[in-house]
Assembly symmetry: C2
Homo-oligomer: 244 residues x 2
């Protein structure tokens, strides 16, 4: 079973105080870009892998999705998701994504936000997604950018000219990274961009977009402390589809 | 016209002493991996964009290519390429790649090694390649990896624990990078991986592979000073194709 850090009190408490936990999609700086990668959900059946508090599920329902399934491992998060969701077309299920089974050809769009970098058997999850989608469907997800995750410690340092630089190492050394984000001992899985591309292709997907996301100049003007995030991308946004 | 640094005496002299200039493909550490991305050339018409001394052109002819066109901007390099090439199916032409015109549907494979990162109008070059290829053709190329090219200065420094780290900054700041590699003032064009993917898609290509290349453990065992190259990839290898 995957590490269930979101059900540990210290982590959950910290996570619950993040802007994206309080303000939802509007509190996630990458959402405007990620949203552009999501095709119209009106009338579609949508599955959200790692749905957390259900913000995307509710957004999809508001956009006219016919059916939305949110899946998460965290009982804490699903409890709040169910409490906050009134739309009858949204349902939530608790599963370890690495053990998930979905009915074949039962969805038109698969979505996941900042979840896959916790999973060890991503190849298996991608195969599950492929089988659950009908031909022509879209698969849109975000992960921590491999540049962000690779080094240990992952923190800016002063560079040769005293400006902050990201001290990259171990980029090609794929495997676990243990960090102390919100709680000690959070385990993530580092993969290169090339490996994400291979996993998609091996599962039968065609890659459409890779967006190496950093804040826009307008976002930096509004939140100056984000400027350093333009030095290296914190998130990787991916759009792919199944051939029709 | 693109910068023609390969025809400057200091640069050409330095470049001519690199292992890949002396030993050809066998002197290029990434070649075994790049070769795996190249489909069979037997009976095919091949164009090499930035052919340099013609090593790949001669390899393709030896592998049974029906016709090979090598294009380069450097008169110095083409002079040696012609001198070293005996196979009648290989021909060389001198062009600025950004001004290149190729007959429509005249090739079955387009190849380029470590050239595209010098070009400003890569979108135009990709359109030229798309038009010159028949449907179903492969497009395989290498460039300096964006992680390698982004920072200025691009050199390892001691990290927080005295081990070498790559001081990454400016990754999302696309545009020229001026380096002093072999000669002062060499201008390269930094693009993110996401931009390479977008340019391919916009030109009509389907992406198959992105290999973020670093030396293998066996190569490091043979050449220990390469070990640091495993901390961040020096090259990006790309394989794409036109829909049939």
């Amino acid at each position: 079973m995957a590490q269930n850090v979101y059900d540990e009190a210290e982590f959950f408490s910290g996570y619950s105080q993040l802007p994206r936990s309080i303000h939802g999609l509007d509190g996630a700086a990458e959402w405007p870009t990620l949203r552009e990668l999501v095709p119209s959900v009106a009338g579609r059946r949508v599955v959200d892998l790692g749905c957390g508090f259900g913000w995307f599920c509710r957004w999809a329902a508001d956009e006219g999705a016919a059916e939305v399934l949110g899946v998460d491992l965290s009982a804490n998060m699903l409890e709040r998701a169910r409490r906050d969701t009134a739309q009858p077309q949204v349902r939530y299920e608790r599963h370890d994504l690495e053990q998930l089974a979905l009915a074949p050809a039962s969805f038109d769009l698969a979505y996941s936000s900042l979840t896959f970098h916790y999973l060890v058997d991503l190849a298996g999850v991608f195969r599950t997604v492929r089988t659950a989608l009908v031909p022509g469907s879209a698969f849109v997800f975000s992960v921590e950018h491999p540049i962000f995750m690779a080094p240990s410690p992952a923190a800016f340092v002063d560079g040769p000219e005293a400006a902050p630089v990201w001290p990259l190492d171990r980029y090609l050394d794929e495997g676990p990274r243990v960090t102390d984000w919100l709680a000690p001992g959070v385990v993530k899985q580092h993969r290169t961009i090339g490996t994400y591309v291979d996993l998609l292709r091996d599962a039968g997907f065609v890659l459409d977009r890779l967006v190496e996301w950093g804040p826009s100049d307008a976002q930096v003007a509004a939140t100056p402390e984000w400027r350093v995030e333009q030095e290296r991308p914190p998130f990787l946004l991916v759009a792919a589809h199944l051939p029709a």
